[in-house]
Amino acid sequence: MSAPDHDAIPLLRRGFRLQWEPAQQAHVLLYPEGMVKLNDSAAQILTLVNGERSVADIVATLHQRFPEVPDLEADVLDFLEAAHGNHWLTER
């Protein structure tokens, strides 16, 4: 799978839901008979995935929030690629 296009607009796949779970003190991704507990960076990225923001928008927003993080863009692209590979995301 190739790295996502900057203009692509990712969207959670049908049947996937992201929500904050107080008992786990974490965001989780819920899908048919499955649940993935997300770490902080994965949650930061996925909460920006709304079917409207492009990959470039997501990277820019995270840059503003975390200007001190090196290689942020590469990390975001890697994560989105993996999320696509897991079929968590589709594109509009």
């Binding site: 796949r13 049947g15 779970e21 008992a23 048919p32 008979e33």
Partner: protein, 382 residues
């Protein structure tokens, strides 16, 4: 055994993340591999709507996020839409696990409007005759096809579940193709696990090793084709543990994250545990908090202090927890023993014998006993 307190009470488990609500044991089908208890006809009265909603709320407050609505056939509950709606308000991800019998287009729409997240429909085979042989119903197959299409039309993610056994395993390619034609998002090819009615019918259901290897090859071929076509459909092939040499980490450990509530309100650490000689608590008498943290039933096999040899000194005991307590009980008579699937178990020969029996020609095998009330009463007369 049941009233000796809780030897492992000091072990504090995490929350019950998964709640399986077996709403009813009623079902129009008669599948001979049903995981319901073989004495289901003698169980107590079903919880009512208010009691179920209260169970949902209590478990959710403790951290349950995934909710399975199962049975029996959950669609026989007239209050199903109300229960789904309540679950959605609480923030659950709700999964309806159904045979599709009792479903119609209006019901699919009502469930979607109530906030149901996902529908899993079970098929018995890729063809009408095979479906009828297992389900004991003539009309089921066509109806299931129609309902699968209705589920997709309402934009639900769809899991199709097919229990695999010696009668249909050679058609696994056709079964996968049917699921792809129906645009399933996930296909669960669940080779029979031998609990409940399936244990009773094991000889008539268990595939041979050769059949299994051929099926694995077919599944691998389809996976490769799906990947090449970037088709997101996932094939989940559950291999029967009777062909393993190490046991499965059953339920990810006893009372570690799964909570099953049976139709009459009995709380179990897994949906098969009712058969064990352990006194399990009921939601009519105790809160979920008490049941999960303080009941002797749920604390019974937590931790590892209960393990006899060979588990006690085994360096894999925290990976597989000694396997499945129900399987240990069914095959050795003592639920604390190592699951005989494990090659280190002194009872492993029972598994080996079952594998050898699996090749027995069908005409030398006892006929399948179908899951219905009459048979349930015949088998468990006392």
């Amino acid at each position: 055994m049941a009233t000796t307190g809780s030897p492992n009470a000091e072990i504090r488990p995490g929350p019950p993340l998964w709640l399986l609500a077996e709403l009813t044991y009623r079902c129009p089908l008669q599948c001979p591999y049903c995981s319901n208890p073989v004495d289901f006809a003698d169980q107590g009265q079903e919880l009512d709507t208010g009691q179920w909603l209260d169970v949902f709320a209590q478990a959710r407050a403790m951290g349950a996020a995934q909710l399975g609505l199962s049975g029996g056939e959950p669609l026989t509950r007239p209050d199903l839409v109300e229960l789904v709606s309540g679950a959605r308000e609480l923030g659950y991800y709700s999964n309806l696990i159904t045979s599709g019998m009792g479903l119609n287009r209006d019901k699919v729409r009502a469930l979607a409007d109530a906030g149901l997240d996902h529908i899993q429909i079970s098929f018995q085979d890729a063809e009408e005759a095979g479906n009828q042989l297992m389900a004991g119903s003539r009309k089921a197959f066509q109806h299931k096809l129609e309902m699968a299409r209705a589920v997709k039309a309402h934009d639900f993610p769809m899991v199709l579940n097919i229990v695999i056994h010696r009668h249909n395993i050679d058609r696994i390619g056709d079964i996968i193709q049917l699921c792809l034609d129906l645009e399933a998002d996930y296909v669960e090819l669940a080779t029979c696990q031998y609990y409940g009615w399936a244990h009773l019918n094991r000889q008539g259901l268990m595939p041979s090793r050769a059949q299994l290897q051929q099926a694995e090859q077919t599944v691998a071929d389809y996976r490769r084709r799906l990947e090449e076509a970037t088709n997101p459909c996932q094939l989940i092939f559950v291999v029967p543990d009777y062909y393993e040499e190490r046991p499965k980490p059953c339920m990810n450990g006893w009372g570690s994250m799964f909570l099953t509530i049976t139709p009459d309100g009995t709380a179990l650490p897994c949906h098969s545990a009712r058969q064990l000689p352990i006194d399990f608590p009921n939601v009519r008498d105790h809160t979920i908090e008490t049941i999960w943290h303080r009941s002797p039933g749920f604390n019974h096999f937590r931790g590892d202090a209960w393990m006899p040899e060979p588990c006690r000194s085994c360096d894999e005991k925290h990976e597989d927890f000694g396997g499945c307590r129900c399987q240990a009980y069914m095959l050795t008579g003592d639920a604390a023993n190592a699951d005989p699937v494990c090659a280190k178990s002194p009872h492993h020969h029972t598994i080996v014998a079952a594998r050898e029996q699996a090749g027995t020609p069908l005409d030398q095998v006892p006929p399948l006993t179908y899951r219905n009330e009459r048979n349930a009463r015949l088998i468990y007369r006392g």
